[in-house]
């Protein structure tokens, strides 16, 4: 069994802010049924761009539910500018850490939040920049480079734990290795 912290267990067993949010004016969705986890984040934002309320609906494992619950607790009361600075590490830290194989659950939280903010501001997130490396989980080379730099990832396994890339059919593992090498080469 996974070594979950008490905070993860608590947020999984008693998730905060579950369900659709009445009067929500921003929604961010990430993940899919095929991936095995998905999060829909609802925000109610006032005219000063302050998050007055947040809720979520999540399909996924205990750490996906806990990450979603933690995210809503973290961002309530923040302005969108403040919320935009929230990273997956903030979510993970709030929960006292996640098993490394489950880091992608916190990344999912960060991604849904970004999308919700863009949704409120009317910014359309067009197709992602960069080239798709992992077809199974729709991850680009630029996303991998960002994650490697931000989190000091060293192996393809690290990349899979954070982004899920390479965790499906595994055909892109060599390509992920190349991306990793290129980041290392550039220092």
């Amino acid at each position: 069994m996974w070594d979950y912290t008490d905070q993860v267990k608590d947020h999984f067993l008693k998730p905060r802010n579950v369900g659709e949010l009445k009067g929500a004016n921003a929604i961010g969705e990430t993940g899919s049924l095929n991936c095995g986890d998905a999060l829909r984040l609802y925000l109610k934002v006032n005219k000063n761009e302050r998050i007055m309320d947040a809720s979520f609906m999540t399909f996924g494992c205990a750490s996906a539910v806990a990450s979603s619950s933690a995210l809503t607790e973290i961002i309530k009361g923040m302005t969108l500018d403040e919320a935009a600075k929230i990273t997956n590490d903030d979510i993970s830290d709030y929960l006292g850490g996640l098993p490394k194989e489950k880091m992608h659950c916190s990344v999912m939280g960060q991604s849904a939040l970004k999308k919700a903010i863009a949704n409120f501001r009317g910014v359309q997130i067009l197709s992602k920049p960069g080239q798709i490396v992992c077809e199974c989980f729709d991850v680009t080379d630029l996303e991998i480079i960002d994650a490697v730099k931000a989190n000091g990832l060293e192996t393809t396994e690290d990349v899979t734990n954070y982004l899920k890339a390479g965790g499906g059919c595994g055909q892109c593992l060599d390509r992920i290795e190349e991306v990793l090498e290129s980041v290392k080469a550039k220092g």
């Binding site: 996974w2 095995g36 829909r40 399909f59 996924g60 494992c61 899979t160 499906g168």
Partner: protein, 390 residues
């Protein structure tokens, strides 16, 4: 908290009778069965008795029984011996739903030794594509290895029928019967297999003991090279205590076999019907007929397996999941993927595997616990609304 143990395809309770049988050999009866003196030989006699009991269980001759450390070792030893016996043959066959003991071994042989491997596919019900299996057999095939029963779905492969074909074509046939043993009758003579793997801890013996049946006449080369033990087919001092325990477990398994097919099957069907009736959006994985009597692998739409297992665990219910999140990889089980089970229920598939120790009361506990657990997770799921998938 009372534990409801329904994960018997993972491992089983060591039977009280088995523990009792083993105890003296942990203590004062510690002799080496190979020794010349009477003190060691009394253990040797007991090991001989155990070998006879195992042989009786599968209708083999005692000389055809090789004790190993586990099912995985038995599988490795079987394939190793086949490849040594036919060094010129470079093709091996298995299915795409095997246990990692065979699947990863075949992958390894492909990658490091250049073997050509055929992974015969299964259909949506988990049944083997026999046409493709037979067509892929050739003069270059060193061995066919197929599981008798699938560990996840419990789906059975027609071992006897396949053995007829391999015999016709003069190809060695090994079956991993780890999950089948103790649940359906196993008769190696009737089945006509050349080698067969068993594991002790799936039939109420301890962990760390396995068996490889090797048909008389096959020139078997050992995987573990060492002393003369097991007639030179497996070096290393015998795990006497566990061998003795396994002997007793086989005797009990033979006695309990009718119960498996009546009472245990009845409990499994009761659980299956109850869950299907009370939980909409649920479906059974695998063929309903060609299936072990103790196994129920059931998928719940729009929820995820790890979450289900953790909530069941809080109520003392032990089961397994084919979910990605419980395995370390991110895709659902390779068995469900091979069967092309839709993602909507694959991630939320839970395996209940029963034994004769289970009761109807326990099945009721599972049903009454699982209904609100699935509801709670569906209330949280973005893919479920107003009683159906969205």
């Amino acid at each position: 908290m009372k534990i409801v143990y329904t994960d018997n395809n993972a491992t089983t309770k060591v039977a009280d009778e088995v523990i009792e049988e083993m105890l003296p050999y942990f203590g004062e009866l510690y002799g080496n069965p190979s020794s010349m003196h009477t003190f060691g030989d009394q253990v040797g006699k007991k090991v001989k008795e155990a070998r006879q009991r195992v042989a009786d269980f599968i209708n083999a001759d005692p000389d055809e029984i090789v004790f190993t450390s586990c099912g995985t070792e038995s599988d490795n030893a079987a394939i190793n011996a086949a490849l040594i016996a036919f060094p010129e043959k470079k093709h091996i066959i298995t299915s795409n739903v095997e246990h990692p003991a065979i699947n990863n071994l075949y992958q390894h042989l492909k990658k490091t030794k250049g073997y050509e491997v055929t992974f015969v596919p299964v259909d949506k019900k988990g049944l083997l594509d026999l046409d493709l299996l037979y067509k892929s057999m050739s003069d270059n095939t060193a061995i066919v290895s197929l599981m008798w029963a699938n560990n996840e779905t419990g789906v059975l492969f027609p071992i006897e029928e396949i053995a007829k074909k391999t015999r016709e074509k003069g190809i060695l046939f090994h079956t991993d019967a780890v999950q089948a043993a103790g649940k359906i009758p196993i008769d190696v003579k009737k089945a006509g297999v050349d080698m067969l793997s068993l594991s002790g801890h799936k039939i109420h013996a301890p962990k760390g003991i396995g068996v490889l049946y090797v048909k008389k006449g096959f020139k078997f080369s050992p995987l573990l090279i060492g002393g003369h033990q097991e007639k030179g087919r497996r070096g290393g001092t015998e795990n006497t205590v566990s061998i003795i325990g396994l002997g007793k477990a086989c005797e009990l398994a033979k006695e309990n076999l009718p119960i498996m097919n009546t009472e245990v099957r009845g409990l499994r069907d009761y659980l299956q019907t109850g869950l299907l009736e009370k939980i909409p959006g649920s479906s059974v994985n695998g063929d309903l007929e060609q299936r072990l009597p103790n196994t129920l692998y059931i998928g719940f739409d729009a929820v995820e397996g790890e979450s289900i297992l953790l909530l069941l665990d809080r109520e003392g219910i032990c089961a397994s999941s084919g979910s990605a999140c419980t395995s370390g990889s991110l895709d659902p089980s390779h068995v469900l993927m091979a069967m092309k089970v839709p993602f909507k229920s694959a991630h939320g598939s839970i395996r209940f595997s029963l034994s004769h120790y289970n009761t109807k009361e326990e099945m009721d506990i599972i049903i009454t616990t699982l209904v609100p657990v699935i509801q709670k997770l569906r209330d949280m799921s973005p893919f479920w609304k107003d009683g159906k998938m969205v």
